[in-house]
């Protein structure tokens, strides 16, 4: 009885303590974004004479973003209400190319990491292509695929394939040899060894590769849409630049940033789903 009497107020105190801690951590987390907004606003005011509308205030960007998304006041003219189409076009390219890159990069990385013979046959060639920057592929891919999805998807594929392939390959090479021996001892051979031992053991490294490459995918989609396609978020940036609409350009940058961070979060959620139960969850 006395025990529970003492426990009750303790729990309440603990509860309010937790709420207090959450408030503090929330304030702490919003400190930096708020100060960035403040500095941004101050800079816009300061540079008003020099850059004028080329350095939009946070308010102007928010206004452009909202009209672009929901056509609230027509301030973005022909862009008004078209955000969803731009997102759709870019997202389609990113996901298709990312999927193809994962479907090629993971099996190839597993094979090359696992088999010495495959390493000798394939890896030198792959390593020869890797140092060529994605941007260097832009002209030739436009010649090959013309203006359109093909060129964009090809460029994003090139940007995402190598990190996925390399991380898978290294993940396989650094598997604890005892784990491989255990698999051999238990009768896992050939493809079954790869599927049941090598792949799951390399999965943490594979996820690292996927998360690195999803960032590259958004870089590549913007680059390709600036030059090789006539729609999508990158194209909106280029188009709005032509109309000297810095507010829309920045709004598009914000959207790309948000989408990039959301796709990283999604991969992290998948990583937690597959690896969290045995490895503990990761965050941020």
């Amino acid at each position: 009885m006395a025990e529970s009497d003492r426990a009750a107020p303790g729990t309440v105190a603990e509860g309010s303590n937790r709420a207090w801690k959450m408030l503090v951590s929330f304030l702490g987390a919003s400190l930096l974004p708020l100060s960035i907004l403040a500095v941004w606003q101050a800079l816009a005011l300061l540079l008003e004479n020099a850059l004028g509308p080329f350095f939009p205030t946070p308010y102007q960007v928010a206004n452009a973003l909202l009209d672009w998304a929901f056509a609230i006041n027509g301030s973005t003219a022909t862009f008004s209400g078209t955000l969803i189409y731009a997102i759709g076009a870019s997202l389609r390219r990113v996901s298709v190319a990312f999927l193809i890159a994962a479907c090629c990069g993971i099996p190839l990385g597993l094979l090359v990491g696992w088999s010495m013979r495959m390493r000798l046959i394939l890896d030198p060639t792959v390593q020869l292509f890797r140092p060529v920057p994605v941007t260097a592929w832009v002209p030739i891919s436009m010649l090959w695929f013309g203006i359109g999805d093909g060129a964009a998807i090809y460029l994003i594929f090139l940007a995402t394939f190598f990190p996925i392939y390399l991380n898978t390959f290294h993940g396989v090479r650094y598997i604890n040899p005892t784990v491989i021996r255990a698999g051999q001892m238990l009768g896992a051979r050939g493809l079954r060894m790869i599927v049941h031992v090598v792949l799951p053991a390399a999965l943490p490294a594979i996820f690292a590769g996927l998360r690195i490459s999803v960032g590259f995918a958004w870089t590549a989609v913007v680059v390709s849409e600036l030059v090789a396609v006539k729609n999508g978020l990158g194209y909106v940036m280029f188009d709005a630049y032509g109309f000297l609409r810095a507010d829309i350009v920045v709004a598009a940058m914000v959207v790309v940033g948000v989408l990039g961070s959301v796709s990283d979060r999604l991969l992290m959620a998948a990583e937690n789903f597959y690896l969290g139960r045995y490895r503990g969850r990761i965050s941020a």
Binding site: N176, T178, V179, R181, A182, Q184, M185, L186, G187, A188, R192, H196, V197, P200, A201, L203, L275, R277, Y278, R279, G280
Partner: protein
Amino acid sequence: MSTQPAQAAPKPSFVRYDAVTKSYGAKGGALALRATSLDIAEGEFICVVGPSGCGKTTLLNMLAGFVKPTTGRVSIGDVPVAEPGPDRGVVFQEAGLFDWLTARRNVEFGLKMSGVPQKERQLRADEVLKLTGMLRFADRYPSQLSGGMKQRIGIARALVNDPAVLLMDEPFAALDAQSRSLMQEELLSVWRRTGKTILFVTHSVDEAIYLADRVVVMSANPGRIKADIRIEIERPRDEMSLEFNRLKRELKEMVMFEARQQELEA
């Protein structure tokens, strides 16, 4: 010391190392193991002790099929060892469990690879999990198990395939003293109940005398068998007894002498 009691008929050899050598590198490279022969009877518990670099793990790995002898031959029941397989269960020093599988799935892995249906897999896994006292923890992942528990799963995972021999490579070396004694007792009880042939590599003379029917002492540079001693002390063995300590002194001197030789040569 290796005098055998007159009444014990020599058992037929089950595991046989026939003049095996191992050298690394090109021809004339470092000789890790000099022509070594060793016979192990079915159901025998053999401990191999010696300083590091004496080739005791190489000896075990040859039987496991991880390492091929340079010359000579290793066989079990007259069948030569070619590659690793579930008929020779290996328990590794660092467990080597599959992190991504629960304890139960780890134990079932070998059965799954050899195509045993799910129903039977579960029954047989339950049996060895019970035998090793791990049934309660069957649904945990290796990261949620202590070192001793991981080794029990390692033993269960090897035993479930009903291997002809159990090969143990310093399995308790990383455990604290209490868990180690506990695991030693449990291993003996598993051995009694299953009658498995066990080859157990350790650097602890105490552990070897406590567990083994025979202790094989090895020396280094190149690796070779220096002594093969039958332990006649009645089980359960009292580590405080005069007999135990007399043997311990003798073996320890042998191993220490080897270690000292190695220091001098290095």
